[in-house]
Symmetry: C2
Subunit: 229 residues, 2 copies
DNA sequence: CGAATAGTTGAGTAGTCTCAAAACAGGTGG
DNA sequence: CCACCTGTTTTGAGACTACTCAACTATTCG
């Protein structure tokens, strides 16, 4: 009796799952497009499929910051956005999948697999934010840049690859790392002169000395004493 | 007699809920206790009931940072902690409720109310982290302190109250705001001289000029020109 | 080609860090 | 009660980093 019930219920659930599936709504946005929360009231959940979306903030006198960046496969949920959360801006040409609140909740509810993945992504996002706070808090410009290069590699799933595409503009990287573009530029030349990285193009960075770069990022190198002239 | 009463009450609660309810395990920790993830393998979810837990990070040469602080009613989930996530340290005497992975998941699964609350808390945590990045990125010491005071008020649910208990030690506040304790101290005296705050004790800050403090926090005041001597 | 945007380089300044010492608070024991 | 200790906060003077503003180079695009 209980067995029959169990099987039947299970079958029904399976049938329901298979029968229902939200058709993903795909959208593209050009660089510098501002994604207004109001415009996404009906489809407030964005899953980035290509490109990058950044949360831009501006202080009263014009100082700019990018607090969080959403890269591929990361989820931006407009439902939980307060007024202080800044504005979402496309830092690259962006492709997103859009979900309505109901659809996304239903996906989560019907598939534990999906729910687990979502929870993991949420937690990862908080980890990135936490690490980013560490980068911003007490690191020097050159250490910040080293950290950024390594973070970029990690978030692009490049594994142990030594060639990292930065993709973002210098000014956006600077905003993200809490620096001025000029200071960032100087940090690039310093890393190059120290032989930790090499770059021919502006976009592509080759990591010449990975342990060195990692130590630099973690503040284990007193680079002042490794004199640069 | 007392036993009968207890059992009856317990049964009622059980019946009201979902016939199942995990007994919360409560624990206390002294200041500066380090909560090792390994020790919480069986009960990896901590809900802070009193005090504050901070994620401490240390750079190679000893520079310290606190990236995230968990205050009352916030959830620290050791399951999603990477190696880089720093160590969890009690910044105040702490009381926590502990949950096992199964219990917490079950609570979420059986009560949509609980699930919504959890999701909201997660999102709020990310918002705090995002705002914190903004504070760290480009703000001056005095602006950082103004931001911290307002953040403290907000997270203590003081509403429009003008008296804020900072509770944390100066050195922890400094670590959190990416400053040295000395610089923080100087920022305090500057805010006092500007008449934005007043404090008799070290712990208690009275906001004397709230709009002014808020403008300071948002970088709308060129406080250099409001000369301090 | 000229206009516009993006990135680099240079000189001077403002603000934070460093290190050292002094003031302050809280608890202990004589 | 005071002297003493430990730990925290404040104050001071000098060094150094990152910012500002300006000019310059490189690249893109009509």
């Amino acid at each position: 009796m209980t067995q029959v019930q169990y099987l039947t219920r299970s079958d029904l659930e399976g049938a329901q799952q298979a029968a229902w599936k939200p058709k993903p709504i795909i959208n593209n946005f050009a660089v510098d497009t501002v994604l207004d929360a109001e415009a996404f009231r009906k489809l407030p959940i964005l899953v980035v499929k290509q490109g990058a979306i950044g949360l831009q903030h501006m202080l009263g006198d014009g100082r700019q910051t990018i607090s969080v960046i959403y890269f591929e496969d990361e989820v931006l949920d407009f439902r939980h956005f307060g007024k202080v959360s800044g504005r979402a801006t496309c830092l690259l040409p962006v492709t997103v999948k859009l979900y309505s609140s109901d659809d996304y909740d239903r996906l989560q509810h019907e598939s534990t697999q999906f729910q687990i993945e979502h929870a993991t992504k949420q937690a990862r996002q908080l980890n990135y934010a936490s690490q980013h706070s560490v980068d911003l808090a007490r690191k020097s410009a050159i250490e910040k840049l080293a950290s950024f290069i390594l973070e970029s590699r990690k978030r692009q799933n490049l594994g142990r690859g030594l060639d990292v595409l930065l993709r973002l503009r210098r000014s956006d990287i600077a905003d993200y790392m809490g620096l001025r573009a000029e200071t960032l530029s100087r940090a690039f030349t310093k890393l190059k002169k120290l032989g930790l990285i090499a770059c021919d193009q502006t976009d592509l960075v080759h990591i010449s000395n990975e342990p060195g770069l990692r130590q630099m990022a973690n503040g284990k190198v007193n680079w002042m004493k490794t004199r640069i002239q």
